[in-house]
Point group: C2
Chain length 314, copies 2
């Protein structure tokens, strides 16, 4: 067959995706008007690697280390201690504990995240995030984060857009940490990036929007459908995720008369920094069986994993 998704294997999964896209964008049974062709994508672990830990933690660790250097008392407490000592495992474990229902370490992380931006304007934060992405290297791949993007998923984004879809990111990660690079890495502009958010306020003196001292919401699990409605005002017809936090988004999407729910399964064991893991996806894999999600095997359904370069070159 002609292959619109070159980094995808000629598998039943790939054929299922193509059949879905052709059906909803065609003129026959199952056609969906273009404005309603909304597709939503989780980010970490779905559009790019989340191992050894989400990129956002790498960034925040740098900020905490700098803060602890300026105020040595901080270095005696978590998560600053982990940042100064390079104990990334503590941070990864904090997220794993969250997925297991224990938020205690994640609350320390969130508190320190809030402290790092309290009072900062959104444009100053945007600038420091962009600077991080220009210089940082992925911790195991050793490449810029731009090359930690999953090439098959960028191909899928473009393929969907060619068929009249509008694609959004719906991530548990910080919305404003993604926005500076999603257009370049994925071809998705800032207005279509949905994520967790720190509370904001308007500073009339400087005419700037600034971060406050509280977390507004964590865009994960049952909050994902809520944020989808808030931001888009439509129920998606396609969704892709990879973890327990994506189950509700996938189920919400399946409420559409014609829908496709993809669950990326990291069953590959190749030596590429993104080793096989089900951790944080156990419930999602069980839900896939119960609710007929389409499971995408990274090992069997993708012929290459990482983009040698980002969306702009594809």
């Amino acid at each position: 067959m002609s292959q619109p998704l070159p980094s995808w294997a000629d598998s039943a999964t790939t054929r299922g995706i193509i059949e879905f896209v052709e059906r909803v964008s065609g003129g026959g049974d199952g056609a969906v008007p273009a404005p309603e062709r909304v597709a939503v994508f989780d980010n970490d672990g779905t559009l790019w690697t989340e191992k050894p830990m989400p990129t956002q933690l790498h960034f925040i660790v740098q900020q905490w280390a700098a803060a602890a250097a300026a105020d040595p008392d901080l270095a005696e407490h978590q998560p600053y201690l982990a940042a100064v000592s390079g104990d990334f495992a503590w941070l990864g474990a904090a997220l794993d504990k969250h997925y297991d229902g224990d938020d205690s370490d994640l609350q320390l992380v969130i508190g320190a995240i809030l402290a790092a931006t309290a009072g900062e304007s959104v444009v100053d934060y945007e600038r420091s995030v962009a600077e991080f992405y220009r210089s940082a290297k992925h911790l195991t791949l050793g490449t810029p984060y731009r090359d930690a993007v999953y090439r098959p998923m960028v191909e899928l984004l473009r393929y969907l857009e060619e068929h009249g879809f509008t694609c959004y990111i719906i991530s548990g990660g910080d919305r404003d940490f993604m926005r500076p690079i999603t257009a370049e890495y994925y071809g998705i502009p800032p207005e279509r990036v949905v994520g967790s958010a720190v509370g904001l306020s308007y500073d009339a003196d400087s005419a700037e929007v600034r971060y406050g001292t509280t977390f507004d919401f964590m865009d994960d699990g049952p909050i994902k459908p809520v944020r989808i409605w808030t931001r888009i005002g439509r129920r998606p017809i396609m969704a892709a995720g990879n973890s327990n936090g994506d189950i509700e988004m996938l189920r919400y999407t399946q409420g559409s008369p014609h829908s496709l729910a993809l669950l990326i399964h990291h069953d590959d064991t190749a030596d590429r920094g993104d080793a096989a893991y089900d951790s944080g996806a156990e419930k999602a894999l069980a839900a896939a069986k119960e609710h007929d999600f389409t499971v995408v095997s990274v090992r069997d359904d993708w012929t290459s994993v990482f983009a040698a370069s980002g969306a702009a070159d594809m």
Copy 2:
């Protein structure tokens, strides 16, 4: 001159708008890349009439009257009493009191708005709102609300889009009360409608998003720039409003290197249901002088006010 805005007079205001649009969309000094050409519009009093009271109050009055008919005890209390007795003046006054800093009556209104939708799914609400718009007539014009839209503003929306702008509604009104009709009336799809919102939750049993029992935020005054950042992630280069609640949005927009801030001034006295009024715009008119907003005189800058038909026919 050739006139791209047929319902606008050949005035300095109109020429200023056209010069701005041509400059930012042209190739010379002051050019702004298309993705950054974001324009934001207040709704009530800016894109359509808000007199004798915002359309949303007309809708909610019908809902309250129905609720009071089912439960006569309700009819002894405001705002149900006003709904049953047809005392629309009480409702208009509640909003005027809000703009004067007294929220007591508005809180009664908000409480009753919340009671009307608590537990309802967003799609059921969408359906009842759409049904209202199909049958309701504007209280003084006697036409469908579709014809209470300001024709010059719809022309401006289309003109901006033809020059690469993306237009959003940023309204103090309920977001989900606008979404069912903004595509038809204004050519603005639901994902570009920003407004006040009731808190939502995801109901996993039905896979539906439902309204809760609390008000999430009131998208007015300093909250408008916050919602603009949250939803769009860019600072607009053009904004249009008409009341005190739009000052911060207009000032935020002026933080862009090239910007246009429009304040619609209802100084017309023609007998068309939308008589001259400065009420609720006193501070905005003062801010216009101080900060150089472009004041649009409905009397002098518009040659016709209401659309005989909506966006689809223009």
